[in-house]
């Protein structure tokens, strides 16, 4: 376990983070609004949301990788007590303190560089290691993510790896500087389900072995229900519910979370019709008065005309709803 010396405080603390997308002709659109989240040392935390919920941009803002026209307009993000958003060079944090495992493994790898070179690149950029030492470390890393015949295959190019192996290589790359926090951005979306299960298993194994924390970003509530310690659910740029896995799935409070859980089909015992959420997710530029889920919410009432705050009910379990 990494000892970060801030007892009782999270490894990563995000508070009131708001990200906007600037338009040339339109008023700015809010991509993420007042997002607060915490990742403790050694935790796997899930950040869940459908497309357009702002989950990926929230994560990218932490390492300064927002697209050109997006920017953080308010809020704080502290990593081990150090401010990530204001001052400081995000390039120094990236890969060293906070690493990223990207989605779509094939396209996330440079096609003209060998796997070994790419896995070792953070060591080249951040570490003062000698070439030969890097080669050894890279071999160890590839072995650690269970790439068979790792040392020999380090000289292969990405297209010579299968999808699952590419994702393993990207995981090794994220581990190379032994960062305390790893952001995993839908790392299994492009993979077959059996391979997906392998990668999930690998992440759990690496957490146990290295003590690193993971912020696991996904659109798949079912997937994260199997292995995340705590979960944040995002809807239309806001966190609507957060808590331990048990709290989220066994004591669901927010109507959106409940609807999302119900909407996923099961292997067996499905109802004749799946419960659905009427309407569609509001676009970031749409002005909405009150609760952003109100229009689609089966439980909406008079109070919803005013935007609810993210309230903590019992212990760690919080939700953004007047009626929950």
């Amino acid at each position: 376990m990494t000892d970060h010396g801030h007892a009782g405080e999270g490894l990563l603390e995000v508070e009131g983070l708001t990200i906007v997308l600037r338009h040339r002709h339109r008023p700015p659109a809010t991509i993420a609004r007042d997002v607060s989240l915490r990742v403790n040392a050694g935790e796997i935390v899930g950040l869940i949301g459908e497309s357009g919920s702002g989950k990926t941009m929230t994560a990218k803002s932490l390492i300064g990788l927002l697209p050109d026209r997006m920017e953080v307009v308010s809020g704080h993000a502290r990593f081990r007590g150090r401010d990530l958003l204001h001052g400081g060079d995000p390039a120094r944090v990236r890969g060293r303190d906070i690493a990223l495992i990207p989605q779509d493994a094939l396209h996330a790898l440079n096609p003209v560089k060998t796997i070994g070179w790419q896995v070792g690149e953070p060591l080249q950029v951040h570490g003062g290691l000698r070439q030969r030492r890097i080669a050894t470390v890279v071999g160890d890393l590839l072995e650690r993510v269970h790439i068979p015949d790792a040392r020999r295959r380090a000289v292969d190019y990405p297209h010579q790896f299968s999808g699952g192996m590419q994702q393993r290589a990207l995981t090794a790359m994220a581990l190379s500087m032994e960062p305390p926090l790893i952001l995993a951005d839908e790392p299994t979306t492009a993979l077959d389900v059996t391979i997906q299960a392998e990668i999930i298993d690998l992440i759990g194994e690496l957490r146990d072995a290295t003590g690193a924390s993971f912020l696991f970003i996904s659109h798949d509530l079912a997937l994260v229900s199997s292995f995340c310690d705590r979960i944040y659910v995002m809807y239309a740029g806001e966190i609507v519910e957060s808590g331990t896995r048990d709290a989220i799935f066994s004591h669901t409070r927010h109507p959106y979370t409940r609807a999302l859980i119900g909407a996923a089909p099961r292997l067996a015992g499905n109802p004749e019709r799946l419960p659905t959420i009427p309407g569609r997710i509001p676009q970031p530029h749409e002005e909405i008065r009150g609760c952003r889920f109100r229009e689609r919410c089966p439980e909406a009432g008079a109070a919803c005309g005013e935007a609810p705050r993210l309230d903590t009910a019992d212990g760690d379990h919080a939700f953004r709803c007047w009626y929950a």
């Binding site: 890969g95 990223l100 096609p111 950029v125 190019y157 297209h159 299968s162």
Partner: protein
């Protein structure tokens, strides 16, 4: 990999045959005019017939082609109608001149294109991009013979810095050679760079939008390292493949530029052949230019395949 190179080389032979046949037909598209122009318009019909028979011009075109191609393969391009001198040695003498001109001009074009293209692509949709893109269109829209004329007017006649044309071998007088090559290379190279800048820019934009760029950034890779290790090599693969076509255009333009600067290369020999209706000369010169272009295309193609690891056969099961 080897099989790929082998096939590319093997397919070069039919390419050469088709290309030379096209040229042969293009040159001989109007029958009988060779004799007329060689002997003048007052020649008797009998004299014309005799000339045609003597040079084998009265036989079917296909037969003439096979005979010409067979001899050309051995370096024999026949003798000039005009002065009965063998054409081969004349062509050989001029090849280095044109190669130097085209090569240096292409270097000028590439030296302009790669940094400007990278700058524009890397700073896509910024002011720098706009300036470079406009510049590229300006360059590409300039008629090279007009630019050549302006360059001579300004640098040679107004300022008197450089000679107006002519040629001196590099071995004889390196400074004199470069002095005379400078303006033609600029005229050719700047115009060619127009298209090349755009190609490079497009290639860089394409690479920059790839996911692996973000992966590299997430590792803490800075701009300089990003461009040199991740962007450049990926962008150069399409760049060189497409720029080969532009090289063909550049070599074609040599015909005009050599004329403007009075450079005794293959290009001006083409014009000599045309003006004199000297078909053996015209064919030999045109064929040489074509072969240069095709060979460069071949080399670039092979090089692009060699630097692209995706062409390598998968070694392990994947």
């Amino acid at each position: 990999m080897l099989a790929l190179v082998f096939w590319r080389l093997a397919s070069f032979i039919p390419t050469l045959i088709v290309a030379s046949a096209i040229l042969f037909v293009a040159v001989n598209v109007v029958p009988g005019s060779a004799a007329l122009s060689a002997l003048g318009i007052h020649a008797t019909p009998q004299a014309l017939k005799r000339f045609e028979h003597q040079h084998g011009l009265d036989r079917p075109l296909a037969v003439q082609y096979v005979e010409w191609a067979g001899k050309a393969l051995q370096g024999d391009f026949g003798t000039s109608f005009q002065n009965a001198v063998p054409v081969g040695p004349e062509v050989r003498k001029r090849i280095p001149v044109t190669l130097q001109l085209a090569g240096m001009a292409f270097v000028v074009a590439i030296v302009l294109a790669i940094p400007l293209g990278v700058l524009a692509g890397f700073r896509h949709q910024t002011g720098a991009d706009g300036v470079v893109t406009t510049l590229a269109t300006l360059f590409g829209s300039t008629p090279n013979f007009w630019l050549a004329t302006l360059l001579i007017w300004f640098f040679s006649l107004q300022l008197g810095w450089l000679p107006t044309g002519g040629y001196i071998g590099f071995a004889e007088d390196p400074a004199g050679n470069l002095e005379r090559m400078l303006l033609p290379c600029i005229a050719l190279g700047v115009v060619s760079s127009g298209l090349l800048i755009r190609i490079m820019r497009t290639a860089v934009i394409e690479v920059m939008s790839s996911n692996f760029i973000e992966t590299a950034r997430s590792k803490g890779v800075g701009d300089l390292r990003l461009v040199s290790f991740h962007v450049l090599r990926n962008a150069l693969i399409p760049f060189f493949t497409v720029s080969a076509v532009e090289f063909g255009f550049l070599v074609g333009s040599v015909v005009i530029i050599e004329d403007v600067f009075r450079i005794p290369g293959i290009g001006s020999l083409v014009l000599v052949g045309i003006i004199n209706r000297d078909y053996p000369v015209l064919l030999a010169a045109a064929m040489t230019v074509t072969v240069i272009v095709l060979v460069v295309n071949l080399i670039v193609d092979l090089a692009a395949q060699v630097i692209d690891p995706r062409q390598v056969r998968t070694g392990h099961g994947s």
